[in-house]
């Protein structure tokens, strides 16, 4: 097995297709794997049941695991978080509700949650593109920041029948989402020219952050209710199960 370069640049030959299979950030030409983005080369070991060859990928971000293997002495220094992952089918996204209609809710996608980052054990220091999720969400939940940046974000729809898995025909959109809520959803389709389609029909999907009519952040009390800690009034939402 030929040695892999630690860092690849686009167009750099990484290895033959007979030894590796091509992962993200690479492309194949004439049975060789080439890098297609610049970044550290990672060889994921072969999973015994599914595949026979290790997968070669070029990482967009440096994960804590890669960092530890390359230079264990140096602690992980967070680079400036930069985010350019596109929503794909089955990816988990955080989105803000921009419009609620009778049959659908329009949301704008704030961030695509990095699957690999959530799976790793070391939750506190997973260096992902989405390091600033907290700051993105708090600024997005703030009413002043609405609508100014919506044009730059990907738009998505939550249709009435995609809100929850049971009693789909009794869904009332006004009791599920309000404008300004932050929703965790799963992408079901790339949709049409302008909208992605998102579902919240799972226990862990739904509203994660919401403000009450009084303007206070609410906490979830059940799968369909959130409560304002100041006034004590409850409001109806399709609530995501908290971790």
């Amino acid at each position: 097995m030929a040695s892999l370069p630690p860092i690849a640049i686009p167009g750099q030959r990484l290895g033959p297709l007979s030894t590796y299979s091509a992962g993200p950030g690479t492309h194949v030409q004439q049975s060789f794997i080439y890098a297609s983005i610049a970044g550290p080369v990672v060889a994921d070991p072969a999973q015994p049941k599914s595949q026979t060859r290790p997968t070669l990928r070029v990482s967009r971000v440096i994960s804590s695991k890669d960092q530890a293997s390359s230079n264990p002495a140096v602690p992980a220094v967070m680079s400036k978080p930069r985010y350019n992952t596109l929503p794909a089918v089955d990816s988990i996204v955080l989105a803000r509700v921009t419009r609620v209609q009778k049959r659908q809710a329009t949301v704008s996608i704030l961030v695509v949650v990095d699957e690999s980052a959530t799976q790793s054990q070391d939750q506190s220091r997973t260096a992902s593109d989405n390091d600033n999720v907290a700051s993105i969400l708090t600024s997005a939940a703030n009413p002043e920041n609405h609508s100014s940046t919506d044009e730059l974000r990907f738009q998505a729809l939550i249709r009435k029948e995609d809100v929850r898995a049971v009693e789909k025909d009794r869904v009332v959109m006004d009791e599920m989402f309000r404008v300004g809520d932050i929703v965790r959803g799963s992408v079901i389709s790339l949709g049409d020219q302008s909208f992605y389609y998102i579902t919240t029909a799972r226990n862990d999907l739904g509203v994660v952050m919401a403000r009450s009519d009084a303007g206070n952040m609410m906490f979830p009390v059940s799968w369909k209710e959130m409560r304002d800690p100041v006034t004590g009034t409850g409001e109806q939402r399709k609530v995501a199960r908290p971790f």
Binding site: I9, P10, G11, S36, N84
Partner: protein
């Protein structure tokens, strides 16, 4: 198209008058820029990525100024700089959602804008993109489209904007326009745009087949004797201000790892090239090969700049 939104200067430009007698006597031929480099020697390139924090990718490129500029600075004879060297900045924005009116696209939609700063050339440019700028944008888009793996970014757009801060001259500023005149400086600008845009795209982590770089080669006849025996010679990476007469020039966008050309622009008459007797190539083949060699040279700088960009973002 007239620019009605701004108060513009006179359309013809406002250069100070330079009298022919002045050139002949004091500055004259001696002040004319001469090529100090070997025919196959390229100018040094400065290329750095990530200078514009708000863009998802950016780069800045600069060509080494010719030796005559340094000489003129140390011993000024005229207020007019003898030559100019390319300086440009490239920003990449995206991938971002397409505008609402756009149709569904399963691929990345690439848009390129090339704009000269008003002060970039000796003749001032307007604020609205003119025909040559649009032309450069189309050439650049062709060059990059062949390198980007567009199907990895469905439903999204990528905006590439190049600002030319200092353009190359089309000829020595003191020369009167002649028959061989064409916008030779534009070809150098295009080569620089391709290299800079490639660095910025790599900086933005957009999937590419390879780093694509631009190179220029030209057939020039430099002899002041103007004798018929002096056949034009092949030079790489020309500075048009350093040559009396450029017969033809060629720009390529070249991907070295795949040995592919994504963009080819050849201009002028390449039939009279002075090649070796046992060189079986025709003039334009030699010209294209020369441009590819120049692009290979630029690619070494490009690769190093991209490595620096990773080292910075992952350090």
């Amino acid at each position: 198209m007239a620019d009605r939104r701004r108060i513009n200067g006179p359309p013809g430009g406002t250069r100070p008058p330079v009298f022919a007698s002045l050139q002949e006597s004091s500055t004259g031929v001696a002040n004319r820029a001469q090529r100090q480099r070997q025919p196959t020697e390229l100018r040094k390139i400065f290329l750095k990525t990530g200078l514009i924090p708000t863009a998802s990718g950016s780069s800045y490129l600069e060509f080494e100024p010719s030796a005559s500029l340094a000489a003129a600075r140390s011993n000024p004879k005229s207020l007019i700089p003898p030559s100019s060297a390319l300086k440009l900045a490239c920003t990449v924005h995206g991938p971002k959602p397409l505008p609402r009116s756009a149709a569904f696209s399963p691929n990345l939609v690439l848009t390129t804008h090339v704009k000269y700063a008003p002060f970039a050339a000796r003749k001032r440019k307007g604020h609205i993109r003119d025909a040559s700028e649009r032309d450069l944008g189309v050439h650049l888009e062709t060059a990059l489209r062949g390198a980007i793996i567009a199907e990895r970014w469905p439903k999204s757009g990528l905006d590439i904007t190049l600002t030319i801060i200092e353009a190359e001259d089309d000829r020595w500023w003191g020369d009167a326009p002649d028959s061989h005149d064409a916008s030779w400086g534009m070809m150098n600008v295009l080569a620089g745009c391709i290299t800079a845009a490639s660095a910025a795209i790599a900086d933005a982590h957009i999937d590419c087949l390879d780093l694509v770089s631009g190179g220029v080669a030209a057939l020039v006849s430099d002899d002041s004797s103007q004798s018929a025996s002096s056949a034009p010679r092949l030079m790489l990476d020309i500075d048009p201000a350093e040559h009396r007469s450029i017969l033809s020039a060629c720009v390529v966008a070249y991907m070295p790892a795949r040995d592919e050309i994504t963009e080819l622009w050849l201009k002028g008459d390449s039939s009279r090239a002075a090649l070796d007797k046992n060189d079986g190539r025709t003039g334009h083949e030699a010209l294209i090969d020369g441009a590819v060699d120049a692009a290979r040279g630029a690619n070494t700088v490009l690769a190093e700049a991209v490595r620096e960009s990773i080292a910075r973002s992952f350090a």
